[in-house]
């Protein structure tokens, strides 16, 4: 065997090992219920903003604290705390993808992606302050 073949083999093995080891990085789409089963694990939940429930945001007190309620695809409504500023026009969103983790009945969210009804408006992502 040529040494180039050995090097290539090593590289390919290394690539496969890296791929397997980072596979855990990929997250999953969950519901609030399935997220509760793995508290503290960072996942995505797709839901709809519950407009009839109260939204709390008082930037004078804390600009990085926004509380709202969302209903997931299974139909369960959950309280969500977003550690960022209230996304502009979240009321107009059609669907929101929330990234975060479930803990003690509350979903702690650090990124919100909103799907807007307008065909001219691109989807919008709002980051929490973890960058």
């Amino acid at each position: 065997m040529k040494k180039m073949h050995i090097v290539l083999l090593l590289l390919v093995v290394a690539a496969i090992v890296v791929l397997i080891s980072v596979f855990g990085n990929f997250s999953t789409y969950e519901t609030f219920a399935s997220a509760s089963k793995q508290p503290g694990k960072s996942i995505y939940v797709i839901g709809i903003l519950q407009k009839d429930k109260e939204m709390e945001y008082d930037p004078q007190k804390d600009p990085n604290h926004f509380i709202f309620y969302a209903k997931d695809k299974a139909g369960n409504t959950n309280r969500v705390i977003f550690n960022g500023e209230k996304p502009r026009d979240i009321e107009k969103s059609e669907q929101i993808v929330m990234m975060g983790y479930q803990e003690a009945g509350t979903f702690h969210c650090s990124r919100i992606q909103m799907k807007c009804p307008s065909k001219y408006k691109k989807d919008m992502v709002v980051e929490g302050n973890n960058s």
Binding site: M4, A15, S27, P59, P63, N64, R88, D89, K122, S131
Partner: protein, 833 residues
């Protein structure tokens, strides 16, 4: 029905040229194909087929330019009966952005791509000589595929092939009632306008450059196909190398401009976010660079031909795959700025084109695989080709990791079928990519520092060891200095820092000592120097990127991070700035001074003027002062959605990057200030307190003496004032106020309010209720509109200029190599004649 006021001629002409461009490309592809097939057997027929092919391509090119002109005419003269003009432009749009309207839409950006292929195709036609028939057959074939994208021909009610930019508005919205009246044009007076975030000078120049970079990948692809087709592997080397160098430079510039645009006008908080759209342009570039290097290996040693073909063929296919990812909407929920999806028709259309190109490439490669020239002997460990080959493989593997992670929506249905899990992108994409790519950066950085010192075939180990030892030592010292100074503590980033510093030192040393500064030969070392600077710039600017806006008022909440440090960071990167109040921000004192309005067409843009001041800690003198103007606008195109743009202060060694996150009051929502009504409060004796939003007021008693200039005395008046002292939140007295109560002619009650403008406070003496001489109740009405404020995020990017400079130097290096290659080519030609 006859419609009044429509201008149908430009659209008809445009559509005619769409058809001729398609037919021209088809004819050209067929003729060139015939010319290639008859080249050996019947040179005379081949010659006439060649001429047919050329004329077909010229017809195609002229048609494409005509389409461009027709569409530009429609946009420029504001013919809103056409959907494209209506959707992407408006009357008030400044002239310089008219071109940007082209690439806002899907059809326009396909046209831009087609146009560049035409231009490059004409150059290939004139320069490819013996390979003209085959390269041009492929180029024309790709043009056929692209032309179908804008054909817009219906087959039955369900299926439509492509989307024409010349479709009328009334055809797009057939069911809208407005189009049932013949004079509907009277009601359509203005278009939708261009998305405001695209109204940026980067948006005028960045898409053409990026698309030229994408388009240029076609040429190495075509040359590789031609070489395989002909079964002749020498003549393609030089043109492919030249085009790959050109391609690497242009695509690299395009990616940099994309980063600069994101940095200047999007609030991503940076120039690179591993966003799928960004990745989609980076992956082809990485594969192209890998292919360029293996081609150099092949040119010098005759090795690595098969990998060269794989990489260069793949580069162009990846550009199509990127188009598929970003245009069809398949990325949907995973990307911020993926184009709006045009749905299924486009998905299948693109899959068919990719499929055809893939099959052509695969079939040729498989058929020629066994006959490709190979060198049986083993390469030396200290040879340039050995390490260049390894570097290329690593670049390729790295690009595949990025492609695989970006393609989640493509493979997740399969993964769900296998595992039952619904896979999503990594929750921290930056970390996901950085953790892997840092190692690629290290290895490729070390290789690009040392590989030039090695010679093809074999190198003198002693000389090599000495040179590498010296430069690595200097690099190590440099890295140690920077690492300590910049407090880079994570060990893998320290290694990356060393790789970058070693790269910088080694390539400068190589250029000066080994190459003796011969400009023509400096290409590789200059590119490698630029690459090392890019690595250093990325490392310094992102490792020590930090917020200087801290929330000093907020309550803590637990973001669930592992360390207290991370928790605190999450809590505090936004800072609240009241208008007129100065707050500390990093080493500065920041003040939200004012907001100002500017109309950009229909869109209101509001600038927030934030003053930054730095004072000398001892003398308290202002040593530095500047104003930043982050803005916000109501996007009329996005149904009134608010969008913000950052504002950046550039210093030579760092940038201060700010944008507003939240806006309260001011010009943007005046309504909020006015809806607040008066609240009633009653006080009885001196010392009583009234709580207001931003402090409190203490009652000092009533006073018959009036010293208010606004009051003109009238004899019959009974007049009295209520004296208060207003304190702010920090118990500091702000001002004494005395609203006045007047009883005129014993009937008419008048009030003179007192105000504190800085606190938005209005106080009215509403009523006086006297029950007995000792029991007097004073009723006052207090209105305090909320103070205007913005929530600002301010980030510092240290040494970001190293990154920009690095890219420019790298691109410059490509052009030096290209110039050298072309001049050798010409001089060889002259010598021959």
């Amino acid at each position: 029905m006859e419609f009044i006021g429509e201008h149908l001629r430009p659209g008809q002409l445009g559509h005619f040229f769409v058809i001729t461009s398609f037919v021209g490309a088809l004819f050209s592809a067929f003729s060139y194909f015939r010319a290639a097939r008859t080249e050996q057997t019947d040179p005379l027929a081949s010659r006439s087929w060649l001429l047919f092919g050329r004329s077909g391509f010229v017809v195609h090119t002229v048609s494409v330019i005509s389409i461009f002109i027709a569409l530009f005419y429609i946009i420029e003269t504001h013919l809103f009966e056409y959907n494209y003009a209506w959707e992407h432009s408006s009357l008030s749009l400044p002239g310089k952005y008219l071109l940007a309207c082209f690439w806002e839409g899907q059809e326009g950006s396909f046209m831009l791509w087609t146009f560049w292929h035409c231009v490059l195709g004409l150059v290939v036609m004139r320069t490819a000589r013996g390979l003209e028939t085959r390269t041009m057959a492929i180029i024309a074939l790709v043009q056929v595929g692209l032309a179908t994208m804008i054909l817009g021909i219906h087959f039955g009610p369900e299926f439509q092939l492509g989307k024409t930019p010349f479709i009328l508005l009334r055809h797009v919205m057939q069911n809208a009632p407005i189009f049932s009246s013949p004079n509907y044009m009277n009601f359509i007076t203005d278009g939708n306008g261009l998305n405001v975030s695209l109204r940026n000078y980067w948006m005028v120049i960045h898409p053409p450059v990026l698309f030229l970079g994408f388009a240029a990948t076609l040429i190495p692809f075509a040359y590789c196909i031609a070489a395989l087709w002909k079964g002749e592997y020498q003549t393609f080397i030089k043109p492919t190398l030249a085009w790959s160098l050109f391609n690497g430079a242009v695509l690299g510039t395009g990616i940099m401009m994309g980063g600069a645009w994101a940095y200047e006008s999007l609030n991503f908080g940076g120039y690179w976010a591993w966003d799928p759209v960004e990745n989609a342009s980076l992956v082809p570039w990485l594969v192209l660079i890998a292919g360029l290097h293996t081609l150099l290996v092949y040119k010098s040693t005759g090795r690595a031909l098969s990998l060269t073909f794989i990489l260069l063929l793949l580069t162009h296919l990846l550009v199509w795959y990127s188009t598929f990812l970003t245009r069809t909407g398949i990325l949907g929920k995973t990307s911020v700025h993926a184009f709006t999806g045009d749905g299924k028709a486009l998905t299948y259309h693109l899959l068919i084109v990719i499929g055809v190109l893939l099959i052509v490439a695969m079939v040729l490669l498989v058929r020629r695989w066994r006959s490709l020239p190979r060198i049986r002997s083993e390469e030396e460990t200290l040879s340039r080709e050995f390490w260049m080959f390894i570097g290329s493989v690593i670049l390729f593997l790295a690009s595949m990791q990025i492609a695989l992670s970006t393609s989640i929506p493509v493979w997740s249905p399969l993964a769900k079928w296998i595992s039952g899990k619904d896979f999503a992108p990594p929750t921290d994409p930056m970390l996901h990519y950085n953790n892997i790519q840092v190692w690629v950066a290290i290895i490729v950085g070390l290789l690009s520092a040392s590989v030039l010192y090695m010679k093809f075939k074999n190198s003198d180990a002693r000389v090599l060891g000495k040179r590498l030892g010296i430069t690595a030592l200097i690099g190590l010292v440099l890295a140690a200095g920077i690492g300590l100074g910049q407090r880079i503590t994570m060990w893998q980033y320290d290694i990356m820092l060393f790789a970058a510093c070693f790269g910088i030192v080694a390539n400068i040393y190589y250029g000066i000592v080994v190459q003796k500064f011969k400009f023509k030969k400096l290409g590789p070392s200059v590119s490698h120097l630029g690459f090392a600077m890019v690595l250093l710039g990325i490392l310094l600017s992102s490792y020590n990127k930090h917020a200087i806006s801290f929330n000093i008022t907020g309550e803590e909440f637990n973001p669930g991070k592992k360390t207290a440090e991370e928790n605190a960071k999450e809590n505090s990167e936004n800072e609240l700035l009241f208008r007129g109040v100065t707050s500390p921000m990093g080493e500065y004192q920041a003040t939200y001074v004012s907001d100002s309005l500017s109309m950009k067409g229909k869109d209101k843009i509001i600038y927030y003027n934030i003053n930054f001041e730095k004072r000398d800690p001892k003398t308290k003198e202002v040593t530095e002062q500047f104003t930043l103007h982050p803005d916000a606008f109501v996007n009329t195109k996005g149904e009134g959605v608010l969008t913000v743009n950052p504002s950046t202060k550039h210093f030579w060694d760092h940038d201060i990057f700010t944008y507003v996150n939240h806006i309260h009051g001011g010009l943007l929502d005046k309504s909020k200030s006015d809806t607040i009504s008066y609240k009633s409060h009653k006080v009885n004796k001196a010392g009583d307190t009234v709580i207001i939003n931003s402090g409190y007021m203490v009652f000092n008693g009533l006073d018959r003496k009036i010293a208010d200039a606004r009051y003109v005395p009238v004899d019959s008046d009974l007049i009295i004032s209520a004296r208060f002292t207003v304190y702010d939140n920090k118990d500091k007295p702000v001002k004494d106020i005395a609203p006045i109560y007047i009883l005129r002619n014993r009937r008419e009650i008048l009030h003179i309010e007192d105000t504190i403008p800085g606190m938005n406070l209005n106080v009215r003496f509403e009523n006086l209720m006297v029950k007995s001489p000792t029991d007097v109740t004073t009723e006052i009405m207090v209105k305090q509109t909320d103070s205007d404020f913005v929530v600002l995020k301010a980030l510092v990017f240290p040494y970001i200029n190293v990154l920009w400079l690095g890219i420019i130097i790298m691109v410059f290096g490509f052009f030096i190599s290209l110039g050298n290659l072309l001049s050798r080519d010409t001089s060889a030609l002259i010598a021959k004649n």
